[in-house]
């Protein structure tokens, strides 16, 4: 099982000839992902780590891909996502950071119109251990298992997943939703999928200050989620008005504070950790192992 990404993925890498595209094509193949094609306009006919490169998504469709990952630079990212959606791809993971918000708005809504699953932008991607990875998450930190992880963060997710793995707690799927204010898939999307996924026994959410995604997730958990949920929220000591690295991580007008998020989660019966590593300990305690 797992959510959204499994063995059936046939991936096309948009922006495959760039530094990141090349490096992560190799890493994804190393994880076991079936990378069937790459696209870089003007570079058709090349090969990257044995993967054929095409000039357009339309051309690349002859390899019958069913998912795409976008590495192209921010000014061209919207075009790449639209191209993938128009080619009929139903799963698009956008790694690119610093995409103009108005561009993101447009391709997010186009994705909804095309009934596609969009993850990101500005995200590390998604990995289902033992099955496939679409993203830049490090291969070495995972272990097959039953914990579902959804996060707005990058390295902090690796840190937490790594500590789960070291504690013997494997993961069904780990998805990085992205650090931007506007993202394609939200905590609620991930919660819904994890609740339905038979393999997932417990859910870990890694949140950040800014916005109200955690508060909305808490409401949803209260109403719809029967599996145990654990959370960590970064930015408890961040001052209002300062953008803490991620474009989404800013407390403005009294909204988006860590206290509000912690309170909402605790109110929904979610256990909130003070340190990233506490999550693994909490799960082990609850499981009695």
């Amino acid at each position: 099982m797992a959510i959204w990404v499994d063995e059936s993925i046939r991936l096309v890498v948009q922006g495959i000839t760039g530094h990141q595209g090349q490096f992560h094509t190799m890493a994804m193949k190393g994880f076991g992902t079936n990378v069937v094609a790459g696209v870089t306009p003007g570079k058709g006919g090349m090969e990257v780590h044995g993967v054929p490169v095409y000039n357009s998504m339309e051309d690349a469709m002859e390899r019958e891909p069913n998912a795409s990952i976008v590495f192209v630079p921010a000014p061209f990212a919207k075009d790449a996502v639209m191209e993938a959606l128009d080619a009929g791809i139903k799963m698009v993971v956008v790694i690119t950071e610093n995409i103009p918000f108005h561009d993101t708005m447009k391709f997010v809504h186009y994705g909804i119109y095309k009934k596609a699953r969009l993850i990101g932008p500005n995200c590390p991607g998604i990995a289902s251990p033992g099955k496939a990875k679409i993203g830049i998450l490090p291969n070495t930190i995972f272990k097959e298992g039953n914990i579902g992880v959804a996060s707005r963060s990058g390295t902090l997710t690796y840190e937490i997943v790594n500590s789960l793995t070291q504690a013997g707690l494997g993961q069904s799927t780990c998805v990085g939703l992205g650090g931007d204010p506007i993202i394609g898939s939200t905590f609620i999307d991930a919660l819904k999928a994890f609740e339905e996924d038979e393999e997932t026994e417990a859910i870990v959410l890694v949140g950040e200050i800014g916005g109200t995604a955690e508060e909305e997730a808490a409401e949803y958990i209260k109403a719809k989620i029967s599996k145990p949920v654990y959370a960590y929220i970064a930015g408890r000591t961040a001052p209002p008005g300062k953008r803490m690295g991620h474009a989404g991580a800013i407390i403005s007008g009294g909204k988006g504070t860590a206290e509000s998020k912690v309170r909402a989660f605790e109110d929904a019966g979610v256990k909130v950790a003070r340190f990233p590593h506490e999550i693994a300990e909490m799960i082990k305690n609850d499981k009695g192992i």
Binding site: I99, V108, P138, S151, S153, I209, G248, R274, F275
Partner: protein, 356 residues
């Protein structure tokens, strides 16, 4: 990027949104160049809110008075922000105040139009009186949506919407949108342009006085760097991990002084630049918290050693290094840093050292 009121009004003018006659002034002599009659409104140009309540908006009815007020306003510091310009405008007879804005709403992932027939200074406290209309970014603003607001404000709303989209705004706000002698005017402007889109807006001025000089230097180098109140400088890779490290410090009563996110780089040159910025901020302890996923710990270590050989680092450096090639990195750094095993231990140690 927030725009000053006078810059926002210039853009309003460009889009055909009526604004009062006015002129932004940096030098007192320029008051004499103003060609509209008294009385004038003199408004301090700052990015922080609450300017009116702080005394940054004054009225002048003669040149003598205007010169005196100009000096007074230019000497003000409003919530820590120095005034560097005064916007002088014709004083209008305001009959009624509305509120109008377009906003990038992250929760609903739409453009949100907000309107209230009771605008003015305390708009935040009147949330229930605000009309909210969600605009789908692909479909755009529809005529039926415009019909939800009073007829006289529709044309301006249409223009403000076009500005909001074309200038890649996070927020375009007119508060108050005032009825003056039967005509609607934008008496104030608040425009926030999305920083990610600045590459396609070379027509916009570069100004961001909210940043400290070091923060500006960091931005030029492409490093996420925020100065905080405490004395412990935190370097980590990834915004979330950096925030989590600051939070952990707080658990041990340590106070973070710098947030420095190395990002996904392990380029030794970039690491050196990051350490250079950090040292300039003069922390009493540096806490390095590294999780090497894709980032190789040993390459980061090389950057640190190169920096420490070239420049003197006066304060202790506590380092917690985890992930790809961590053993190599720890061995390399053993004579340069105080190495600790765990996240928590690192925070505890740095907080102790920073507590003196």
């Amino acid at each position: 990027m927030k725009l000053m009121e006078y810059m926002g009004k210039e853009i309003f003018r460009e889009y055909g949104i009526p604004v009062p006659k006015g002129r932004a002034i940096e030098k007192k002599e320029d008051l004499k160049k103003i060609d509209f009659p008294f009385p004038w409104v003199m408004k301090a140009q700052v990015l922080v809110g609450g300017r009116g309540k702080a005394g940054g908006i004054r009225f002048a009815s003669s040149m003598e008075e205007a010169e005196k007020l100009f000096d007074e306003i230019m000497e003000m510091e409003i919530k820590g922000e120095r005034v560097r310009r005064v916007l002088v405008e014709e004083k209008l007879n305001i009959e009624k105040e509305y509120y109008l804005s377009f906003f990038l709403d992250r929760g609903s992932r739409t453009y949100l139009m907000m309107f209230s027939s009771e605008g003015g200074m305390d708009i935040e406290s009147m949330a229930e009186k605000i009309l909210k209309v969600h605009v789908n970014p692909l479909a755009g603003l529809q005529a039926y949506q415009l019909r939800k607001i009073p007829k006289e404000a529709r044309k301006i709303a249409e223009k403000l919407y076009r500005l909001f989209v074309e200038k890649d705004c996070e927020l375009a706000e007119i508060n108050p949108l005032a009825l003056c002698d039967g005509k609607l005017m934008a008496v104030d402007s608040k425009i926030i342009v999305d920083n990610n889109s600045l590459y396609r807006h070379s027509e916009l001025p570069e100004e961001d006085t909210e940043l400290t000089p070091l923060e500006i230097e960091a931005r030029e180098k492409g490093i996420a760097f925020v100065q905080l109140d405490g004395n412990i400088g935190v370097i980590a890779n990834g915004a979330g991990l950096t925030m989590a490290t600051l939070d952990a410090l707080n658990e041990f009563n340590g106070r973070g002084g710098v947030f420095l996110d190395l990002g996904g780089t392990d380029n030794p040159e970039k690491v050196k630049q990051a350490f250079d910025l950090m040292v300039k901020a003069k922390p009493s302890v540096i806490l390095l918290n590294l999780f090497g996923g894709i980032t190789k710990c040993d390459t980061v270590a090389r950057g640190i050693i190169e920096f420490m050989k070239e420049s003197k680092v006066e304060c202790p450096v506590v380092a917690r290094i985890k992930g790809m090639n961590e053993e190599v990195a720890r061995e390399m750094l053993k004579d340069y840093v105080i190495a600790v095993e765990s996240f928590q231990e690192a925070a505890r140690r740095a907080a102790e050292l920073g507590g003196d």
